[in-house]
Amino acid sequence: METILFAISVALQPINLFFAFIGVVIGTLVGVLPGIGPTAAIALLLPTTFRGDVVSGLIMLAGIFYGTQYGGSTTSILVNIPGEAASVVTCLDGYKMAQKGRAGPALGIAAFGSYIAGTFSIILLTFVAPPLAKLALYFGSPEFTAMAILGLSLLVSLSSGSMVKALMMAAVGLILGVVGVDPARGTPRFIFGIYELEDGIGLAPVAMGLFGISEVLLNVEKSLEEKRETLVGKVKGLLPNLQDWKDSAVAITQGSILGFLIGVIPGGNTIIASIASYTLQKRISKHPEKFGTGVIEGVAAPEAANNAATGGAFIPLLTLGIPTTPVMALLLGAFMIHGIIPGPLLINNNPDIFWGLIFSMYIGNIMLLILNLPLIGIWVKVLKIPYGILFPLIILFCLIGAYTLNNSQVEVGIMVFFGFVGFLMKKFDYEPALLLLALVMGPILEESLRRSLALSGGNLMIFIHRPIALSLLVLAFVSLVSFPMTRAFRKPKIN
């Protein structure tokens, strides 16, 4: 009870309420606008949190993350363009509903389903995270090494496309992670005389390049004169009727549970959650043939799942200190800039951050529900902003964001370089998310491996003698070996 009151008092501080509001507004905006995702938006705004209070900054960044999941459905339903990758499957039935004049109930169930699933996942996060953090206190360096390897292998096995390419990206990320001065010996590695690289390659400029600049380059390559046709005139009656609720009840329930579970797994992001939930709903439905023609369950299931996955994704970060998605990697960066290491000790050492962040999500979800339904008209108007006006502003924010990290032109150079690299990666069919995650996991893995080997006097058998570490390594091996099976599960046929 005392903990709950403490969490409420932190989250209800006016400054934290303000930042939660700013976060969810920006999140919704980013979700609505195609061409910029939550990773790029958080990377852009990461530097703005360096100077202020850490709790407020994290509340804002988290708000952007779950806010995008709400906003993404608007464009899927009204324009047939997913504003956010996790809303791709929402287009299938959402746009069809809009064409039939049922855009209102589609938007309504997307918002209510998102709210229910989002709140459900935060309740689970509230109760699951503390015991898991206690369990993680028994983890030593060998267990963390094995956990990092398991995280990377799951990310690779759950990635789309070629497994060889996914592993290559993980290796490139690990290589980039060793750039800088070796923390144990003080030996400079791959810094090429650039003293700004002594502390390593910054996460934020790489993320802004890979997810912000590269996305802009891909979009400007296409014609900028494309006009979006919205079905805004057909938005009537946002509240779903009783039959809509009956049809969506199972979809929202399974979407909430499945989405949360997928969110907890490393690599199991909001995109996978929404696709898996849609597929499951279609399989359990009495009328699967109607999916894709504008059924409300086809909107409720993926929207519930992608929101539930956001809560689940916080568990590995807050309890183990291991980011499992690019967004979580950036949040880890935000923690570390303030000298806070997320992990098992976070609850005891920084209860204000842990509980304040979690409780702010309850409030943020309520704010999103209020923002999304009555203000739908405003979000639709935002959609009409031509990309020719939007992309210079995205680039400008990236440039200023990168510059203000250290007031250094090197950071800007890194961002531009990785912008072009990200552009080429997409052209050559490589996944930038894996590179970014390996860049973050690399130093964690190297440090825990170093400590493990120091403990055992250089004997690798330490990983065999410790049961938890061994189990995790076996799981990592199994996840890589069972790659073809996971691919078959992950690539459902959606007509």
Binding site: M168, S223, G388, I389, T404, Q409, G413, R450, G457
Partner: protein, 153 residues
């Protein structure tokens, strides 16, 4: 995609090999502990091996040979990409000399006029308003200490 796989495999092979060699030079073991070069060696080795596998795969896979997607989506797309990249790369070089306001104005005017092909009045209004907003947010509100340049603003 096969030729692209081949090109990227060759690039990554040499990148991995370079890192591997550098890792060996940095030292693998110091006083029974992991040396600074151990991790780069392992990562470089993995990348080299995987690149080789990808290269071999691309040579053996004939299934997608017939399906060749053009690298550029539109004929003039490459011009817009390189002009955008050029302007973005030039901005950090300009900002130290011209200061935040002038370099931002130039950058936005360039994007609005050359890439987006907006009308002059839209270029002027859009560029000025966006520069002013960015200045207010970053310099005044967040106290980001943006460069003032030779002209002092």
């Amino acid at each position: 995609m096969n030729s692209r796989n081949r090109i990227s495999a060759i690039f990554c092979f040499f990148l991995g090999l370079t890192v591997l060699i550098k890792g060996m030079r940095l030292g693998l073991k110091v006083d029974q502990e992991m040396g600074a070069g151990f991790f780069p060696l392992v990562a470089g080795g993995i990348l080299t091996l995987l690149s080789f596998i990808l290269f071999v795969q691309s040579l053996m896979d004939h299934g997608t040979q017939g399906h060749k997607e053009p690298f550029w989506v539109t004929p003039s797309g490459w011009k817009r990409v390189f002009l955008t990249l050029f302007a973005t790369a030039a901005y950090p070089l300009l900002i130290g000399h011209l200061g935040f306001i002038l370099s931002t104005l130039f950058l936005l005017f360039f994007f609005f006029k050359v890439i987006a092909r907006l009308k002059w009045w839209a270029v002027g209004v859009g560029g000025s308003v966006a520069t002013m907003c960015a200045y207010l947010i970053f310099e005044i509100w967040l106290k980001a200490n943006l460069p003032q340049g030779l002209l002092g603003f």
